[in-house]
Each structure stands twice: as C-alpha cells, then as structure tokens.
C-alpha cells in the first residue's frame, strides 16, 4: 500500500503542474476561443525569467513574483503582437501561429540560457511529512497548495471582482459585454496576461522538481492539453480535476500495469482523452456546443 499512496502523491504533485498549465489553456480558450500551443513554452520562459532574477541576487519569492508579473506583461504583449492579428482567423492559422511562437520561444530560451539543465532553487523546505510509511514531501504539499491557491484566487477573481465579471462576460457573450461598456479587447489582453501568469506559476513551481531547461515543459504541455480537453476546454474546474486525475492515473498505470510500464506511460492519458472525446466530445465538465443552422 505504501507504493500505492506514494504513487498517488507523486501523481498529485505532477498533476498539479499539468493542472496549472491546463488552467492557463482553458482561460485563454474560454475567453478568446484560441488554443495556445505555446503555453508550455511560455511557462518555461517564465521559469527562466524567475531563474534569472534569482541569479541576479533577488530572494526566491521576490524573484518568482517579479517573474510572474513580467510574464503578465509579456503575455499581454504576445497577445497584442502575435495573436490579435489572427484572433478571428481559422483554427489552422491559430494553431500554426502558436506553433511558430513555440519554436521561437524555445530557440530564444536555448540561445540565452543554454540547453544544459539548470538547478532551480527550492521554493519549499526540504523534507517530508511522514504518515505511516508514506512520505509526503513538503514540495508536493506546496505545489498542490499553490494549485489550490491559484484555483481559489481565480475563482475569487472571477466571482467577486469587476474585471473578473467582465472576463467571464466576454468569454460567454462578447456582444452583450460590449453593450454594457466592457472594453472587450482590453479584457482579452488582460485575460491573456493572466493565463500567461498562471502558466508561469506552473513553470516556476515545476522547475525545482523537473530541473530547468528549454525542453522542460514540452511533454508537460501534452499532458496539460490532455487535461484541458479531458476536463472540458471551457471549464477551469474541469482542468484542475483532469490535471490531477491524469497525473495520478499515469503514475498508477506506469507503476502497476506491466505491459504499459514506464515506456507507454504517455500513451495512457492520450488513450483516456481519446476515449472521453469520442463519447463526450465536450469533455467531462465542458459545455456542449450546438451548432445553429
């Protein structure tokens, strides 16, 4: 049983990272209908920015807060410069543009910081909480807490603030939003910045565990996309649940199913998603879209 619980905890820890990036994807998708394939690379870039601030001598928490703020601004910039021109274009265009962004960010990060793995300073204290024979590392608790805090903050932002209200309104109904005086484009820009920051949180908190290099988020992105699709592309709650679920399931599958082993671990979530999409195309918690004739 120790193995089982240990696998579940490790699954929650990595799943929290998937969930954070998935949240970022969902927020952008829900508010703009864009799917940002560069979300993972943006998160990776943010982690490097945090690393850089820390290397310049700032405390780790200050560095990560500054990095998140920087990312917020960068995210808005990316939206304005790269994505706004193609916002209303076909899905193919958007996919390709974000893939271009993906290649570009990856290459620039490698150029600036190199491809060698870098140690990212620990954010949470070392050590673990011991419950019976199960060790729960403080880092795992911390990352999970950060996910909950982000999800909570997001919920509060959406539910209790004016900008949150406007963001939700824009996501659901652009026309009505415009008619009550919401500056839709500005809200989308802020939404993009917010999503980028959330991704940044994912990237930064992943960095101590995964170690920092330009390819850190490559596979995480696949899992995050999977989580977003599985949970429902427009459901933040779905993204969180699905991220955690996929983290746990891939660990249990890798740990217990011999044929799958660790080799085919990545195939497991993909199969789950395919299964889900085939029978529930809108994802677990997503809304069904009924085309009008």
């Amino acid at each position: 049983m120790t193995k089982f619980f240990q696998l579940v905890i490790a699954g929650i820890e990595i799943g929290s990272i998937y969930a954070l990036v998935a949240l970022a994807i969902v927020i952008i998708y829900a508010s703009t209908g864009l799917k940002n394939l560069a979300q993972g690379e943006m998160a990776m870039f943010s982690a490097f920015i945090a690393y850089q601030f820390h290397a310049w001598g700032l405390g780790i928490w200050l560095a990560l807060i500054l990095a998140i703020l920087t990312t917020f601004v960068l995210g808005m910039g990316v939206q304005q410069v790269v994505l706004k021109p193609v916002q209303d274009s076909s899905l193919l265009t958007v996919v390709i543009v974000t893939l271009g962004l993906f290649l570009g960010l990856n290459s620039v990060a490698g150029f600036i910081w190199g491809y060698m793995m870098l140690a990212f300073p620990a954010i949470f204290p070392e050590g673990a909480l011991e419950i019976g024979s199960v060790d729960i590392s403080y880092a795992a608790i911390g990352v999970f807490a950060v996910l909950l805090a982000c999800a909570g903050a997001l919920f509060a932002l959406f539910q209790f603030t004016k900008i949150g209200l406007a963001m939700r309104a824009v996501a659901y109904n652009k026309e009505t939003s415009m008619l009550v005086g919401v500056q839709v484009n500005r809200v989308i820009m802020v939404g993009f910045g917010l999503a980028a920051s959330l991704g940044a949180v994912g990237g930064i908190f992943a960095a101590p565990k995964l170690f920092l290099d330009p390819f850190m988020m490559l596979t995480v992105l696949i899992y995050a996309l999977a989580s977003a699709a599985f949970g429902g592309l427009d459901s933040p709650l779905g993204a969180v649940i699905a991220g955690l679920f996929i983290g746990v399931i891939e660990n249990l599958a890798g740990g217990y199913i011999g044929f799958i082993g660790s080799d085919l671990k990545i195939v497991v979530p993909l199969v789950i998603i395919l299964g889900t999409l085939l029978f529930r195309p809108q994802g677990l918690l997503g809304r069904k879209y009924i085309p009008r004739v």
């Binding site: 490790a10 990272i17 050590g127 011991e130 565990k209 850190m216």
Partner: protein
C-alpha cells in the same frame, strides 16, 4: 557564462603568455602539461607513420599544403541540444590549435591550419545523413570528428564506409563503434569514450567484489544507451550472487521519473543503478532523498558531473552522499582540481576561444577530444589511410590528455581491442568531492 569574464581577462592573459612562451622556447619550467608543438617536427622524417603506414607522397581531399578541412554534425537545436558544446567544441578546438600552435604539423613536416564545417542535425538521423553527405561531397572534408549520437551515427555508417571518409572520435558510447572498427566491418567509424557496456561491466565487478549478495534496482533510459549499460551490467554479474530485482525505464522527454523511483523503492533493493542522463539523474537522486529508501547508489558516468548534476541534485534535497560512479576523465567542476594546472589551462583556453560554459561536462568532453585530435593530426601523413592507421594504433603515439585516465589510450585493430579509451576509475562522492576507490580498471574485451 558571464561569470568567467574576470578570469578570462586576468588569469587567462597571463597563462596565454606563458603558453606562448612555452611553445616558442621551452624555457619555462612551469609551463603547463600539453604536448609541445615542436615534438612531431623533431620526429625523424622517414616515410613510415604509426601502424606501419607507408606514405606514397599523395595528399587526400580536404588537405592542402596549409589547411586541413574537417567537419562535424550534431544537435545544435532540438531536444538534444544539451550536447551542443561537444559539436561546437570541434570548432573551438580548431581555433585553439590554430591560435596556439599555428595549426597541426603533420608527419610530412607541413603545418596546416584547421578549418571546420559544423552542421546542425537536431539529432534527427536523416538530417545527419544530409549533413554527412554535404560534408563529404560538397565541402570535401578530410574527416569528420565527434559526430554525435547513436541513431545518427547508425544512419550514416554506410555512407561513411562508401565514401571512405573517416569518422573518428564519434561522441557516443554504443558498443558497436569499437567492435565494428576492430573487426573491420566498419573500418571508417571509430569510437572514443569507453563503451557504455564496458562501464556497466565495471560496476558489476565492483559490486560483486564489495557488496556481495546484494540486490539491484535499475532506472534506465529506454533506448540503446540504457540498454547497453544494462546489458554490460548483466554480463558482469553473470555467475555472481548479485541479482537485479527491479528495472524501470523512462523516455527522454518525460517530465519526471517519480513514478519509476517509487516503484524501485518498493522493491527495497540494496543497490540503485542510475542509468540516466543528467536531468533525470538529478531527479532520481532527489526522489531518493524524499522517499523511504536508502540504497547504495551507482551513477553512470554520463551524469557524474559535480557542478551540473550532483550539486543541483543536492540543492534540490537529493541523496548524493556516498554515490559511486566510474570515471574515464576528470570533472571540471571537481573542487579538488580547481588549481590543477591542466584544468586551469583548459579553462583559460576554452574561455579564450569560445563562450562555452567551462563547467559544462560536454565542453570538457570537447577539450579532451581536442587533445586527442591534436596529437592524431600531428601524427599522420596527409592521407586518410594514414589517419586510420594512426587511430588504429594510438598506443604508438604519445597522446597526452592529462585529465583522462589514459593508461590505456590505445586501439589496435585485429586484437579485438577497438576502443581508444577503456580505462575507468571507480570513485565515490563524499563531502562534495569524488574520492578514488581502488585502482584504475581496464576492462579488456
């Protein structure tokens, strides 16, 4: 990268003047170790080179009276870019040799500037095929050096053979390079570093001697590199009482290896054999630190850099104390070597001719390889046959790679011994330094 600036302009300038003086007059007692350039020039001007090669006075493609053109291909972009210093190092090496020694002086007495063409293959085999053909057919190189990767070299091995352009010092530890070179099946492709399989055997032998009756859990990358290590290890424990009780694999690109480590911990094995690349090696050690498992660890040499693996892993709460590894070369981040003159020269020269991070194990790999290149090219006639004869008989030339455990820098075709390097030293990480355990092991195949 930037933090080396001061050293570059302080110590480096001084060291440079020393080296320059050493080259000129040999009158500096404290001159660093590298082989003086004039040595080959003093060699008797007979027309027979290493390996009994008899020069007929011809010159092969890629060589003029004052230039030597070589090439390399490796991942400068893409997921394997971490290795890029090895590939870039070929260019740095040429600058270094040209800058410090005016080039290589071959056995025909002519000194030639090295020119290098480096191409990016992104670790994609078909791109390597294209690159190698470009180097052979368009650029017209004399030889290729340090071409990186097992699948990439596998893709080009036939082309190399057909075009008869030597591909020496390939940057991969797959077993076949030494074996096929020795057997003559693929006489134009030659390895450099000890084979992964060899290293696996060394650990097996060490464990059998020192920890009899123990059980082993292995984490390996699910590719040729991981398989080579594990198969070497399995060969090594055959007939002993060592037993492998758990093997987990991961794919390069996976986010992390927590799940594998939990499964291995569940086996409760006495020994953990860590066959992973740097990032995963660090992750695995961090996992052990957080799990209720305290095995004796053996870490493969691919990831035994103090500065880029063990210190980061320790910072992340990893269990690094007492880890064993086997080394064939020194570690540039080893604090014990901080004042070693050879290490200082490495740092100075690499800082002078490149902006590579000198702490990077792969940059250091390139330096070691560079030392070998210099001597190899100093000991050939300007023909490819001569090059092959020389690399096939490296014991006949004096390769001074001071930071390599070089007791056995030798290959000789026909004796079944096809690896330039196959001597390794088992070491243990204690209090931030690697301590030698026992003698250098020379595994003879």
């Amino acid at each position: 990268m930037r933090k080396t600036t001061t050293r570059r302009f302080g110590a480096a300038a001084l060291a440079l003047s020393l080296v320059a003086a050493a080259c000129g007059g040999d009158d500096e007692a404290d001159a660093p170790a590298p082989a003086p350039a004039e040595e080959p020039a003093e060699a008797p001007a007979e027309e027979t080179g290493p390996g009994g090669y008899v020069w007929d006075g011809t010159t092969d493609d890629g060589i003029t009276d004052d230039t030597l053109l070589i090439g390399s291909s490796g991942p400068l972009s893409g997921p394997a870019s971490a290795y890029s210093p090895i590939t870039q190092g070929v260019g740095v090496c040429a600058d270094y040799i040209n800058g410090e020694f005016g080039g290589v002086t071959m056995l025909d007495g002519k000194t030639r500037q090295i020119e290098v063409e480096i191409l990016d293959d992104g670790y994609s085999p078909e791109q390597t095929v294209e690159n190698i053909r470009r180097l052979h057919e368009q650029v017209g190189v004399f030889a290729t050096v340090n071409v990186l990767g097992t699948p990439t070299n596998t893709a080009i091995v036939d082309i190399v053979e057909d075009n008869e352009v030597p591909n020496i010092l390939v940057a991969t530890g797959a077993t076949r390079w030494g074996r096929d070179f020795a057997s003559g099946d693929y006489a134009y492709t030659m390895g450099w570093q000890p084979a992964y399989q060899t290293e696996g055997k060394i650990y097996a032998a060490y464990i059998a001697d020192n920890f009899p009756g123990s059980t082993v859990a292995i984490l390996q990358q699910n590719d040729d590199y991981g398989d080579d290590y594990v198969s070497g290890f399995e060969m090594g424990i055959e007939g002993t009482d060592i037993e492998i009780i758990a093997v987990e694999t991961y794919a390069s690109g996976d986010p992390d290896v927590s799940q594998q480590m939990i499964s291995l911990a569940d086996s409760g094995a006495d020994i953990f054999f860590n066959v992973t690349t740097p990032k995963y090696a660090a992750q695995a050690m961090v996992s052990i630190g957080s799990l209720d498992w305290d095995p004796i660890q053996f870490l493969n040499s691919v990831s035994n850099s103090t500065g880029t693996v063990l210190i980061p892993a320790a910072e992340g709460g990893g269990a690094v104390e007492g880890v064993y590894t086997a080394k064939w070369a020194a570690d540039p981040t080893d604090p014990a070597l901080a004042d070693d003159p050879a290490m200082i020269e490495y740092r100075d020269m690499w800082a002078k001719y490149s902006d590579l991070n000198t702490d990077d194990a792969f940059a250091f790999f390139a330096w070691n390889s560079c030392m070998a290149q210099k001597e190899i090219f100093n000991n050939i006639y300007p023909t490819r046959a001569s090059l092959l004869a020389t690399v096939g008989n490296m014991d006949e030339i004096n390769i001074e790679v001071p930071l390599v455990y070089a007791e056995n820098v030798s290959t000789s075709i026909g004796t079944g011994d096809g690896w330039p390097l196959e001597a390794m030293q088992v070491e243990q990480y204690n209090g931030g330094v690697w301590e030698k355990q026992g003698a250098v092991v020379d595994v003879d195949f």
